[in-house]
């Protein structure tokens, strides 16, 4: 029989294990008081980053509001896997209207609550990256511009996974999707100008913008709770790896989210009123290759005909992000 040494640290990371944290800081997965806003029994894939993100976002929001919360959902995986009538995984009032209108529907809910003296009830809108940065973009910008009292959460898995993994405006350059296959001289998604939704949100100078990943659930919960201390439009962009769309192992969802942050590919930061107020520093930087290799959507960059030029281009993007947000505050850890 093999034995495994118990470690108080997660292997290969600097994240402190839950048990080392003070009680009030611990992440509690199962607790009689936990709202379980999206409860078990839904049909998400094994290793789905989105449902993990949604569970932590909504439960944190429920805690912050004393359960006085309404959720509005765009069409997409989260909607489909949670609610085939007559079943529903939602234990909070939940409304799904269309793919491209969740921010506007959420604005309408907030307006109705305010008009009828129920402004204490808070509103969360949620969508995937397609519903946020593409088809719902106009509605989201309108909600930001009017500063409606809505926290909008984008669960970003970098593509249209529900329809079979097509590219979205949030799909990174070089990534293979069903309509940006690894064929031709420029395999995978084209390198565009990028649709950087958190920065676009910041440009609206709304009270609060934050990014997070499902690798740091504490950070995610804290940001949701902080977002709930503000009124007006707030935006939370959560990186949620998708095993199906990314071609990664279900067990690697957290690992990939962590590598996205540690490589600088996905900067984790907060902003208030359009100014960056805090960043999560990279504690042990990794090359983007470490993040790309476990994902089959990038396998064409490393196979029989490797494309170090494309990898270098992705690395340059990560370097730019690191410099822009000052993610290597302590140069000794570079």
């Amino acid at each position: 029989m093999t034995t495994v040494d118990l470690k108080l640290y997660q292997v290969g990371t600097f994240a402190a294990g839950n048990r080392l944290l003070p009680l009030e800081d611990r992440t509690v997965q199962a607790h009689p008081d936990r709202s379980n806003s999206i409860t078990s029994g839904h049909r998400a894939c094994q290793g789905c980053g989105e449902v993990l993100g949604a569970r932590y976002v909504l439960d944190a929001a429920m805690r912050a509001t004393g359960g006085d919360l309404v959720a509005v959902n765009a069409t997409g995986c989260l909607e489909v896997f949670s609610t085939p009538y007559p079943e529903s995984s939602w234990q909070l009032p939940w409304l799904h209207s269309l793919f491209g209108n969740a921010p506007a529907v959420a604005s309408g809910v907030a307006a109705a609550l305010r008009a009828t003296g129920r402004g204490h009830t808070r509103v969360v809108g949620q969508a995937g990256d397609g519903g946020t940065v593409d088809i719902g973009f106009g509605a989201l910008s309108g909600m930001f511009e009017r500063n409606d009292d809505v926290l909008f959460v984008c669960y970003d898995n970098e593509g249209y996974m529900n329809t079979g993994v097509q590219r979205s405006g949030a799909t990174p350059g070089g990534a293979r999707t069903a309509n940006t296959k690894a064929i031709g001289p420029e395999p995978g998604n084209a390198f565009g100008q990028g649709k950087n939704m958190p920065r676009i949100a910041m440009a609206h100078e709304i009270p609060y913008v934050a990014t997070a990943t499902v690798a740091d659930l504490h950070d995610l919960e804290r940001k949701v709770e902080k977002a709930m201390t503000f009124h007006g439009a707030r935006y939370l962009h959560v990186l949620v790896p998708c095993p199906l769309g990314w071609g990664s192992a279900s067990k690697d969802t957290i690992l990939l989210a962590r590598l996205a942050q540690r490589s600088g590919i996905f900067p984790v930061f907060e902003s208030e009123g359009g100014e960056v107020t805090a960043v999560t520093p990279i504690r042990r930087r990794v090359p983007v290759e470490d993040y790309l290799r476990p994902q089959r959507r990038y396998s064409h960059l490393f196979g029989a005909h490797p494309r170090p030029d494309v990898v270098a281009r992705i690395q340059a993007g990560a370097d730019r992000s690191i410099a822009r947000y000052g993610l290597l505050a302590d140069s000794s850890e570079k």
Partner: protein, 432 residues
Amino acid sequence: MPGQRLSQIEGSVAVAQAVARCRPSVIAAYPISPQTHIVEGLSDLVRGGELIDCEYLMAESEFGAMSACIGASAAGVRTYTATSSQGLLFMAEALFNASGLGLPIVMTVANRAIGAPINIWNDHSDSMSMRDSGWIQLYAESNQAAVDLHVQAFALAERLSVPVMVCMDGFVLTHAVEEVELPEQEQVDAFLPRFVPQQLLDPKEPVSIGAMVGPEAFTEVKYLMHAKQVQALDEIPRLAADFEEMFGRPGGGLVAPYRTDDAETVVVTLGSALGSVEEVVDELREDGVRIGALGITCFRPWPLDEVRAALAGASRVIVVEKAFAVGAGGIVGQNVRLALSGLPATVYDVVAGLGGRPITRASLRGLFRDVLEDRMDSRSLHFLDLDVELVERELARTRLGGTGPHAEHMLRALVGVGAVPPGPEAPVGEES
């Protein structure tokens, strides 16, 4: 709010006042001509504190406006918007969603043509394109009717949990200043009960609204939408009767027959054209012609029995409508034919008033005479005041290999400038 009964007032302002007296809690709108004066008026009333406990949400698009209405209605409040033309089409996806969810939103459609070519003037191609969206459609023949239909629309929508659009002709009604009797606030309060939503987003009793329905029950959900609309055929006359009792004037109902009792020829129309049609009916009656008119107030649901009853005695039915199904024929006409199925009447489909072309009494008189004297083919679609010469010239030009936009060439031909040599008989003006 001023409580005067009779006012010389613009149609849009009158509708804004009537809507305000229905006490909506959320108004979400986006500007588009000719609907703008209505929502501007409501914005003033909210800002000025005359319409209290109401949020006016300035949406980023019509799609956003209807979506905000969906959210507000699901949160359990009385919700209103207004739009026109391209705006209604931009809402299309959300319109079907609102009706599918059974949300009792009320919307004014200030009827306007659909481009291309872009055209801001009145016809019914906007609301007619959404006739199957699951919304009840009421058409106002005057500004008084528009005001009265709005008050009834909220009651109807909320009683059945179905969205209602009140259609009023853009510019012809929205911008016309005429005498309107505005409903008193106390009367409206007595007529329109407090909104009790059928479904509600409430943290105390959480429900999921808008989840997926598969083949096992989708048909049944859609059947219930149909059943509710059929139910509206009973509710609308009841509401009209209640309205008359409260306000002392007729409420509208499903159809408006005019001198149809002994009529051999009946002209069917909807909206503001009804007034002109009735005037021509009067003129022809003086000449001894047994002619009448039938206004369609409620187009969706389609009041098949009432239309059939009103037209049962007619041998000729002329449908004058401001929209058509391209490549197929009349829209109202097709519904009228359905209502007349098995009866011997001949139906003439006439498209009139497209893109703001006036429907003049002279043209109507000519049309009715053509029908009465058997100069019309009932199997083809007719276009009132069509400039046949202009159309044929453009078709000929195209046959000869001419390129470029039809619209530009026809306008050049009309004013006699540009690349197309002016024909000797270039028609000018359509006014009579």
